[in-house]
């Protein structure tokens, strides 16, 4: 009886996971195997047509590697920009730390649409940067800053930077300051301490931040569509296109699943490569 009552305690959690995680996935999985239809989201019976369509047409199939590359590039940029920021905040005095924290988190307070639109104002052909350069007489044709991977990666990195900085910061702040002192007393200089001690010890934060940013970047829709102007084709954009514009639910579901599984595999490989035996 007692045991039974204890088992009851997991019911709320189990229900939550079932309705919000398992059920949607099962629905999408089922939908991806449905037969397509005209004038209707999906037809009768089951087929593999959604998957076939994706892999047989380069327009769709090639969006997958370019999405992954875009995600990786964004992650890399976030790491390179975010690590010094996190390191700086972690070592700042308490008064500065609050301010810097605020600056890093402030993008989260502004909606993603506004932030992406802001980038189009900056990077557009008649945007702030191009028109300034033109007025200064430095260029006579606008630089291709937008509607390409460069612009999208830049904007994505800005949008997701806080998700890199926060795990890095929590990882860096949990390092015992005596560890760096110990390394110093053993004769290590600043850069050596960073390379041999601080950075490797912060690896759990690097790992968490990279996974977070990668997953967010490849599934993002607003930024690539605004800054990329439909000229940068990511799988996520094609999924939305299939579901909403073409009204083909099985094909959209199949693409969404392919993207999710591929992203999962990439994350697993990354976690495997950066595995820490010491934690």
């Amino acid at each position: 009886m007692k045991r039974f009552r204890a088992t009851l305690l997991i019911v709320p959690t189990a229900a939550l996971i079932f309705f919000f995680v398992i059920l949607p996935y099962v629905t999408v999985l089922l939908m991806s195997f449905r037969a397509p239809a005209d004038g209707q989201p999906y037809g009768q019976g089951f087929s593999l047509e959604g998957y076939q369509q994706f892999f047989s047409q380069p327009y769709y199939a090639l969006s997958l590697p370019s999405s992954l590359a875009l995600g990786m590039a964004t992650t890399f940029v976030c790491l390179v920009l975010g690590y010094p920021i996190a390191l700086h905040i972690a070592t700042a005095s308490r008064r500065w730390r609050g301010l810097l924290y605020g600056i890093v988190l402030s993008p989260l307070l502004v909606g993603i649409v506004v932030r992406s639109y802001g980038w189009t104002i900056l990077l557009g052909n008649s945007g702030v940067i191009n028109s300034s350069l033109r007025n200064l007489g430095l260029i006579d044709r606008p630089l291709p800053l937008m509607y390409n991977n460069f612009g999208v990666i830049l904007a994505l990195a800005h949008v997701f930077l806080p998700f890199m900085v926060l795990p890095l910061l929590s990882s860096l702040q949990s390092i015992d300051p005596a560890i760096a002192q110990a390394a110093r007393s053993l004769g290590a200089r600043r850069f050596t301490i960073f390379r041999r001690v601080t950075f490797p010890v912060s690896m759990p934060g690097v790992q968490a931040g990279c996974i977070l940013v990668f997953v967010l970047a490849i599934s993002s829709y607003v930024t690539p569509s605004l800054v990329g102007g439909m000229r940068v084709k990511t799988t996520t954009l094609l999924v939305i296109d299939a579901l909403i514009d073409q009204y083909q639910w099985p094909f959209g579901s199949a693409m969404a699943l392919i993207l999710a599984v591929t992203a999962g595999i990439v994350v697993l490989i990354f976690a495997r490569l950066t595995r820490m035996k010491w934690t």
Binding site: I179, S185, L186, V197
Partner: protein, 354 residues
């Protein structure tokens, strides 16, 4: 072996003085403990010697060479931290090799020296373990070996045993002491545990409020404390405030309540009519009520294994006495207290000591 000397070392954090011009000489191969209550500046002293804190004024010399301006990485010190501060991502072997790699010691020699150090602290079976997979005592020994394997000029330890349980602490105490004697390295050890300081050190430095109150052998600190505060901080102290009957060439004679006199073989500070003397609990013996120099009544009795502790009410206030277990007094018994005048220590007057 290196001689360390602190000359009028001063450290301010903003406007507050953590160290008020302390001077101390530590000899070749000596084991010196810094002992004092929390916040008295023990760790600050150590951090200044290690170079982690800039000093406000004064000098720090190793072998008479001023090293006050040197960076920590150039000072050639071995340091053991309270938190051990092992590198979590390195195995025991890698932790020990780190300092040697920084010194560009050839690979073969590193392997040799690491193996020797590992043997010294009995960690050879754990060579490939990560610190998280070691017990507290084992981590402690890794930290010690890591500090010693570079054969530093001096060894600094900041409360290295504070995180261990009592039994392990006793064990490590002997271990560190033996190791230090074997290696012969000049060592400065910070602790707030007076027992630890007494049993391990050649010399104990008692600190209060950023100042050195006394620097002397454990025996001297215990039996001949420089002030009442030292007396009370190091072990239990009974302080008796007694009127002076006579001062002459033989010393000072004081009178106990009840009329008995004690002749202390040391002159009293001149111009005083009373003398404060210290008696340690084990320096007072209990006898039957009619025999003692001072009558008293047992208030509390605590059996503590090897001996019995009593709190005795007397006309000099409550006194703390320890006696052998072969002697039995019960709570409420009337007893006599006997003092050995040779072991009574006259304390300098609080005002005149200032």
């Amino acid at each position: 072996m290196t001689e360390v000397s602190l000359r009028s070392l001063q450290k301010f954090y903003g406007k507050t003085a953590a160290l008020k011009a302390i001077s101390l000489d530590v000899n070749h191969g000596e084991f010196v403990s810094l002992l004092g209550p929390s916040g008295c500046g023990k760790s600050t002293t150590l951090k200044c010697i290690a170079g982690f804190e800039d000093i406000t004024d004064g000098r720090i010399c190793f072998d008479n060479k001023d090293i006050s301006r040197k960076l920590p990485e150039d000072r050639d010190i071995g340091m053991v931290f309270q938190s051990y501060a092992l590198f979590p991502h390195m195995t025991v072997t890698q932790n020990l090799a780190f300092g040697l790699e920084m010194r560009h010691v050839p690979k073969a020699e590193i392997a040799q020296r690491v193996a020797r150090a590992m043997e010294m602290v009995q960690l050879t079976p754990y060579a490939d373990r990560y610190p998280k997979k070691l017990s507290g005592g084992q981590q402690q020994r890794v930290a010690l070996a890591r500090a010693l394997v570079i054969e530093p000029a001096i060894l600094l330890l900041d409360e290295p045993l504070a995180n261990l349980d009592a039994k392990l602490r006793d064990e490590m105490r002997g271990f560190i002491r033996d190791l230090q004697k074997r290696v012969g390295i000049t060592t400065i050890y910070v602790t707030h545990d007076q027992n630890e300081a007494m049993t391990m050190s050649d010399r104990v430095v008692v600190m209060f409020d950023g100042e050195i109150a006394q620097a002397a052998t454990p025996e001297d600190v215990y039996n001949r404390p420089a002030s009442e505060r030292v007396a009370r901080f190091v072990g239990n102290a009974n302080i008796l405030d007694l009127p002076i009957a006579r001062t002459d060439a033989q010393g000072t004679t004081v009178t106990l309540p009840g009329g008995a006199t004690l002749q202390i073989t040391r002159p009293a500070p001149s111009g005083q009519s009373r003398l404060r003397v210290m008696a340690r609990p084990e320096q007072i013996t209990l006898t039957s009520a009619d025999l003692g120099q001072l009558p008293g009544r047992i208030e509390k009795r605590y059996f503590s294994g090897g001996h019995v502790e009593y709190s005795v009410a007397t006309d000099c206030g409550p006194l703390f006495v320890t006696g052998p277990t072969t002697q039995h007094f019960a709570e409420g018994d009337s007893v006599g207290l006997c003092f050995d005048p040779a072991r009574l220590w006259p304390l300098p007057d609080a005002e005149s000591a200032q």
